[in-house]
Structures are given as C-alpha cells and as structure tokens.
C-alpha cells in the first residue's frame, strides 16, 4: 500500500459515504462527483488511462449533470423526512450491507491469487482498445450502440410524455 492509494481511497470512500448519507441532494451529488474523480484516479493509478478519462467525461460530464438536472426538475432539494441514524430502516440497511460486505470479505480473503502484486509494464493503449473493440468485441459494441440509441429515444419519450398528452 502506498500513499497515492491511501489518499485516493480516502477521497473515494468519503465521497461515497457522503453521497449516500447527506440530506441535501445537491451536496450528495457533489460528493458523488468527488467519488467519481476518486475512481478515475484509481483508473489512472492502474494504468488504464483511457477508462479514467472516459470515466470523467461520462460520469462527471454527463451523469452528474443529469442527476443535478433531475434534482432541479423535481424541486426536491433536501430530503427532509429521511429517518434518523438509529431508525430501524438505517439499522436494517447497515445489517444487510454488513452481511454482503462480510461475504465479499470472506471471498477475497479465501482466494490466494489476491495477494499478488502488480506486474510491471501493464498499460492500456488506446489503439489496442480500438482494435479490440472493432474485432473481438464488435458484437457488444454494436449491441451497446443500439442500447444507447434505445435509451436516448426512451429517455426523451418518457420525459416528453406530458407534452404529447397536451396535443
């Protein structure tokens, strides 16, 4: 474990925790952005530059903005009636999260391959990614492009519903 990892982990975990706990939705979204940047940092740390930049471009540039617009359009800036920390809801949530976490912990600890260190010289090259995407991964690529088109049309249609009713 080195310093960069620790700093990035702190940023990421803090962002994630704030994002799910803060009452003020805008603050939650901004914390989520912090989290996204942390994850992008991890991608850089893992020599996956392209994924990192895509992460920033898509999540910070689009998803976070989208979330902000959703918050703005729903006039629901603060979730006032959230239950408190020691409510049954939160305790159940924490219990479930702890259960799943325990399972994951168990799985990771029980696997010997987990203790290996990073091999040197592993880096992702944009040209290689492009080549893979157009050869081995062309079917997922096409499917995803179709999915994106469908999602785009779907999102527009869903959100336009009211207007089309007026006409």
């Amino acid at each position: 474990m080195d310093t960069a990892f620790i700093i990035l982990s702190l940023i990421t975990v803090a962002g994630a925790v704030w994002a799910v706990t803060l009452r003020n939705l805008i603050h939650a979204v901004l914390s989520l952005v912090l989290f996204f940047f942390g994850i992008a940092g991890f991608f850089f740390y893992l020599n996956a530059d392209f994924v990192g930049w895509v992460q920033i471009l898509v999540y910070v540039g689009a998803v976070a903005i989208l979330a902000i617009f959703a918050v703005m359009l729903t006039h629901n800036l603060t979730a006032e009636d959230e239950p408190g920390f020691f409510s049954l809801r939160w305790l159940t949530g924490m219990a479930i999260a702890a259960t799943v976490g325990a399972v994951l912990w168990f799985a990771i600890r029980s696997n010997a391959a987990m203790s290996q260190t990073a091999p040197a010289g592993v880096a992702s090259n944009v040209a290689d990614i492009g080549r893979k995407m157009m050869t081995d991964w062309v079917v997922p690529f096409e499917v995803v492009s179709l999915l994106l088109t469908a999602a785009m049309i779907g999102a527009i249609v869903i959100a336009m519903e009211q207007i089309s009713h007026r006409k």
Binding site: I96, A102, A107, D136, V138
Partner: protein, 703 residues
C-alpha cells in the same frame, strides 16, 4: 472458369452501372423542386452512361463467350462451360471472418443489365413528356433513378446479401413510385399492398438467405476458388432439408418465395394489377425492366440450387403454368387498358417461371429480355393513348384512336403481334423457346401439363391483345369528350398531367413517340438473336453448357396456329363490327358467368379478404374472447370464494366455537408476515435479494 488472368476494365468497374443512377437520385433528392431540367438531365444522363457501360459489358462478354470460336461451325461455337468475371471487396471484418461483397460479370448479368438499362433509359426519356406537367417532376426522377439503380445493383451483385439489399431497395422505390400520387387513396392503398404482399415473399427469401449462409458459410454466388454458395449447390443437394426435400431444394423453395412475391406469381400476384395506380412510365418500368424481372432473374441467378432439386423445379413449372393461364383468362375480361396489360404481364411472367421450371433457363431469360422490350413498348404505348385521350383508361370509352395517333398505333400494333407470338416478331421466338422447353420436359400428362396450359395461354394472349387493339384503335371514338365543349366535369384531376384540350385524341410529342419507335424496332427484330437450332445465339451465350433444343416443328405449328386463332376470334368479336358507344362487351353474351368470374379476377382478392384477412380478424376475436372467458372464470372464482367465505364465516362464528380463533389468529399472523414480503416496495425486494445472495454465497463457500 478460366483463371482470372485478365479481367477487362468493365468487369472490375461494374459497380459504376448501378452507382451512377444512385448518385443521380441522391443529388436530385437534394435539389429544390424548381430544378426540373437539372434533375431530369441528371437522371437521363446517369442512366445513359449506365447503358453505355452495360453495352460495353455485353460486348466484352460476347467477345469472351463467342469470339474465340469465330469462324467455326455454330455448333462448335459454344464454350461448354460457365464462366464469370468477379470483383470482390470486404465490407467489414468480424473477428477472423469477413463479410465480402462483390460483383459478377457473366452472360446473364451482361444481357440483363443491357436490357434493364436500355429500356429504363427509354422510359426515362418518355417520362419527360408524360410527366411534363406534374409539379413533383423532380421527385419523380429521383425515385426513377433510385429504382433503376437498385435494379441494376441487383443485376450486377455477386452476393445474395447485396442482392437482397438491392431487392429491398427496388421494393422501396416501387412503393414510392406506385404511391407517387399519394393524395389518391387508391394509389396509397396500392403502394401499401404492393409493398406488403412482396414483403410476404421476402420473408421466405430472407429465411432462405440465412439458411444458405448457415449451410455454406458464404453468400457470394461465385468465388475465385469455387467455394461460392452456388458452386456448392451439388453438395447441398446431398444434405437433408425439410419436407423430404434436399437442403438445396429447401433453400431454393424459400428463395422462390421471394421470386413469387416480386414477380407476381400465384398466389402473390394480387399486387401487380393494383400497381397500375402509379404513373404509366412507372408501370412500364415495373412490368418490363425492373421489378417483376427481378424475381425471374433471382431464380435464374440461383438456378444451380434449383437444378439440384427436381421437385422444386416441378413446383416452379406448375406455378408458372397456372399463373400464365389464370392471368390470361382474367385479362380477357378487363376494361382498363393498363389492367389488361398488367394481367398480360402476370401471364407472361408465368411463362418465364414455367420456362425456368421446365429446365429452360436460357429460354426463360430469352423470354424475359424480349418481354422487357415489347411490354415496355405496350405500356408506353398505352400511356401515350391515355395521355392522348385525356386520362381515359377504359377501353370501351376509346376507339378509333388509330387515325389520331398513327405512330402510337403502329408501334402498339408491333408490340401486340410480338406479345401474341406472331412470326417473325420477338415474342414468337422467345415463346417458342419456352414452349419447346416445356414440351421436351418429360413424358406423361403431368409433365406435358405445363405445355398444354401454355398453349391455351398462347391462344388467350392473342385474343385479349387483339381485343384491346380493336377496342382502342379501331372503330370510332366512343369517349365522352368526343364532342367539343363537354368538358366541365372531371377535369380537375387531369390538370396535373397534361393540358386539358377537350375533344378528340391527339398524338403525343416526339419525346414520347421516339422511344416507342425504338422499342418497336427492337421488339420486331431482337427475336432473331434466338433462332432455334444451332443459330441460337442467346442460348449459347446464356447457358453454354446446355445444348439448345432442336427445332420442334410441332410446337411451332401449334403455337402459331393458336396465336392466329386467337387473333381471328378476337377480330370476329371486336374487329368485324366495331363497337358503338355504351355497347356492352360481346364477350358477356358468349361466356356469361365465366366472363364475370374472369372480370372479377377469379375472386382472389375476395378470397384473401375472406381467408387471410378474416383469419386475422377471427384470431383477434378469439383471443379477445379467451381473454373475456378467463376474466369471467376469474370473476366467477372470486364470487365462489366470496360465497364460500360467507358460508365459512357463518360456520366459523356459529358452528365452531372460539377455540379455533387462536389458530386462526396464528394463520392470519403468518399471512401478514408473508404479505409483508410482497409489499410492493422496491427496496424491500432489494434487501431480500441482497440477503439471499449473501446467504447463497456463504453456502457456496462453506460447502
């Protein structure tokens, strides 16, 4: 096939032939409506260059196929083997495999491309005159170019997928053109009908395409290393398919579905006559050069698959023969000049398909090519008549047009005789080829049946054509507008197409008659390229590996006699005593109910209405009924349960004492507990999923 040492320039640039009309169409699609001359010029220029290129291809092919043997006996002229010039390119690579497309130049392509582009060019030129007053002139030429481009693309394709793409483009273009006057409901309906009915066949075609790809791993017709889909036909013939057919037969059958739809064969012929709603040049293009020819061409192109399966060929032959005779009978009782021609086309297509079915691929193609010329001629002539008679299409309201439109009459006359199969015009030779092939098909009534039907068809063809000529051109003009000044009503529609000068018919402008004359010359003399016996150039050219038939004087005599008989009967009925205005069809008296049966197209539309459409409706009703029934059952069950519970309640309260209440309470509590799991809250489900997944994982690890 010889090794691809030298490929002529045209063979490697074959793609230019379809590309040019496509480009012209694309550019004129962008032009504003006022650029009429530019768009027409583009379209005609593009198709003109395509025609030149096609002639180049034809010349190269003839050189390749025939010239090395020049100076020898005709019989020794043939090369006795099929040959192809191929160009291929990779569309896209997918992992290690790649999807290749390509173009092929062989005699079939060369002959077909020449006919298609040449006839299309003449039709384009003719349209200049015909569509002169239409305000959507630009759009019309855009669609025409698209149509011709798609058809030429299909002709030069060396790949079933490319073929299919162009095939569908032909379908789209025909949809757009049939529905060109989309503000008429009938035109819009006809366009829809044409599109949907042909799509029915295309489903089969597409299935066949996929199956072929699955079976052979390629969609190229021919490849340089002889692994093309068609070159594996014999191998496919050895594999089992469905319904006792071989795999090759199955695929051929599926592909034939497409041809049935596109070429208007029974049972999918119903769209073709309705397609007359389009402008007449479109009808000519559909019937002569492009759309319907595509179906026959498809079978000719994939002929090796059909050859590998005699059963399918038999089916093809019978369908063709049946269509030929059926359409001919319908044609004799029609009133609309274009409908008569439309059913004539269906009938002639039947001949072609029959020719294919009986093994005479060259004969069928010969008939297709010749038919392209004279049917284009007839349609354009009909268009000229309609144009001259102020959009009148009913033959009983024409008559005596001969003296007003001499050029149209004489060219139409040539076309009629050619279609009727009168010596020595084109139709005589090509129909003779088909009938000879049918005659030689085999013994027994089953194998002679198509021939017999074909012979009756010859009689009927001559009859209805002569009937038409008599009604339209001979006698006196019976139109309502015969007297000048009676033009107040019914002229609004006509305004879009030509000037509304009332009264007698008038000859069409030169831009329309010149194509007619050219087509007439071709219709008259092209037949000599297919003289029977050894001088049969077309046969040598198209299928060198099969020896042409010997002259069968019996067939020639029978066919000629029947054709003359048809003409004679027609003249007796309609020519000797020209009909007066409002006089009923004399055929009605002679045939009675049978004539009505024919006039109403054998009630196919009604049959489909009564079966296919009604089936869909009934199915919908049945499903709805089932739904209601289930609903009723559910409601009934509910009522029953309520009744039972009412009894139970009373029973519980009065008959059973409170000792049971405790256990009831427990049950209720448990029910509530389980109901709590189904509370409709998405998050509780998520919780359950998470816990369950965790437990499963624990179990998995502990095991």
């Amino acid at each position: 096939m010889e090794p691809a040492t030298h490929i002529p320039w045209i063979a490697s640039h074959l793609w230019l032939i379809p590309l040019l009309p496509f480009l012209a169409g694309g550019v004129s699609a962008l032009l504003p409506r006022r650029c009429r001359k530019l768009s027409a010029g583009l379209a005609i220029g593009a198709i003109g260059i395509s025609t030149l290129l096609s002639f180049c291809a034809l010349a190269e092919s003839i050189l390749r196929g025939l010239l090395p043997h020049a100076g020898r006996q005709w019989s020794a002229m043939q090369t006795h083997e099929a040959w192809h010039w191929l160009t291929e390119f990779t569309w896209f690579s997918y992992g290690t495999t790649s999807l290749k497309l390509g173009f092929v130049l062989d005699p079939l392509t060369a002959a077909m491309a020449t006919m298609v582009s040449f006839v299309s060019m003449l039709i384009f030129i003719y349209s200049l005159g015909y569509m002169d007053r239409d305000k959507n002139f630009t759009r019309f030429f855009t669609f025409l170019s698209l149509f011709a481009g798609a058809m030429l693309g299909l002709v030069v394709a060396n790949n079933l997928l490319l073929f299919f793409i162009c095939w569908e483009l032909v379908g789209v273009a025909s949809y757009l053109l049939i529905g060109f006057w989309y503000h008429r409901p009938s035109a819009a309906a006809a366009a829809k009908k044409a599109f949907i009915v042909t799509k029915l066949g295309d489903i089969g075609f597409f299935a066949g395409l996929l199956w072929l790809y699955h079976a052979t791993g390629t969609l190229q017709f021919y490849t340089p290393d002889h692994t093309g889909a068609l070159e594996q036909a014999t191998a496919l013939a050895g594999l089992p398919g469905i319904m006792g057919l071989s795999l090759a037969g199955t695929i051929a059958l599926l592909i034939f579905c497409g041809a049935v739809g596109k070429s208007g064969q029974w049972p999918l012929h119903v769209w073709l006559p309705d397609a007359m709603e389009g402008p007449t040049p479109v009808s000519a293009l559909i019937h002569a050069a492009t759309m319907v020819a595509a179906g026959v061409f498809l079978v000719a192109r994939t002929y090796p698959l059909f050859q590998a399966s005699p059963q399918v060929l038999t089916l093809v032959a019978w369908i063709g023969a049946f269509t030929a005779i059926m359409a001919a009978t319908i044609a004799i009782a029609q009133n609309d000049i274009k409908r008569i021609l439309a059913y004539s086309t269906v009938s002639q297509l039947g001949y072609m398909v029959m020719g294919l079915g009986v093994g005479g691929m060259a004969a069928a193609m010969f008939h297709l090519l010749m038919h392209g010329f004279f049917k284009a001629l007839l349609f354009l002539g009909a268009g000229s008549v309609i144009h001259g008679c102020h959009n009148e299409q009913d033959v009983f309201k024409m008559g005596g047009v001969k003296k007003h439109m001499p050029v149209t009459f004489w060219t139409y006359f040539v076309g009629t005789l050619a279609l009727a199969g009168i010596f020595p015009l084109a139709g005589f030779w090509s129909k003779d080829e088909v009938l000879t092939a049918a005659f030689n098909w085999g013994g027994g009534w089953f194998h002679k049946g198509p021939f017999a039907l074909g012979c009756i068809g010859v009689f009927l063809t001559a009859f209805y054509m002569w009937r038409q000529v008599c009604l339209v051109f001979l006698g006196e003009y019976r139109g309502e507008k015969a007297t000048v000044g009676h033009k107040q009503v019914g002229h609004e529609e006509a305004e879009t197409q030509h000037e509304t000068v009332p009264g007698v018919p008038h000859e069409s402008p030169a831009v329309m008659t010149v194509p007619l004359v050219i087509l007439a010359i071709f219709s008259a003399f092209m037949g000599f390229s297919g003289l029977p016996e050894h001088a049969n150039l077309i046969h040598h050219f198209l299928s060198p590996e099969h020896a042409p038939h010997h002259v069968n004087w019996f067939v020639i005599a029978t066919a000629s006699a029947l054709a003359f008989a048809g003409l004679g009967v027609g003249h007796l009925l309609y020519g000797v005593k020209p009909l007066a205005a409002d006089e009923p069809d004399p055929l009605k008296a002679k045939l009675g109910k049978l004539r009505d049966f024919c006039r109403d197209k054998w009630y196919w539309d009604e049959l489909y209405e009564a079966t296919v459409v009604r089936f869909a409706n009934i199915a919908a009703v049945v499903v709805d009924l089932g739904d209601r029934l289930l609903d009723g059952v559910t409601v009934g069950m509910g009522l029953l349960a309520r009744g039972l519970s009412f009894i139970n309640d009373k029973f519980d309260e009065h008959a059973i004492n409170r000792s049971f209440d405790g256990s009831c309470g427990t049950v209720r509590l448990m029910g509530r507990c389980f109901a709590a799991l189904q509370d409709g809250r998405v998050q509780s489900y998520l919780r359950l999923v998470a816990v369950a997944a965790a437990l499963l994982a624990f179990w998995f690890f502990l095991k």
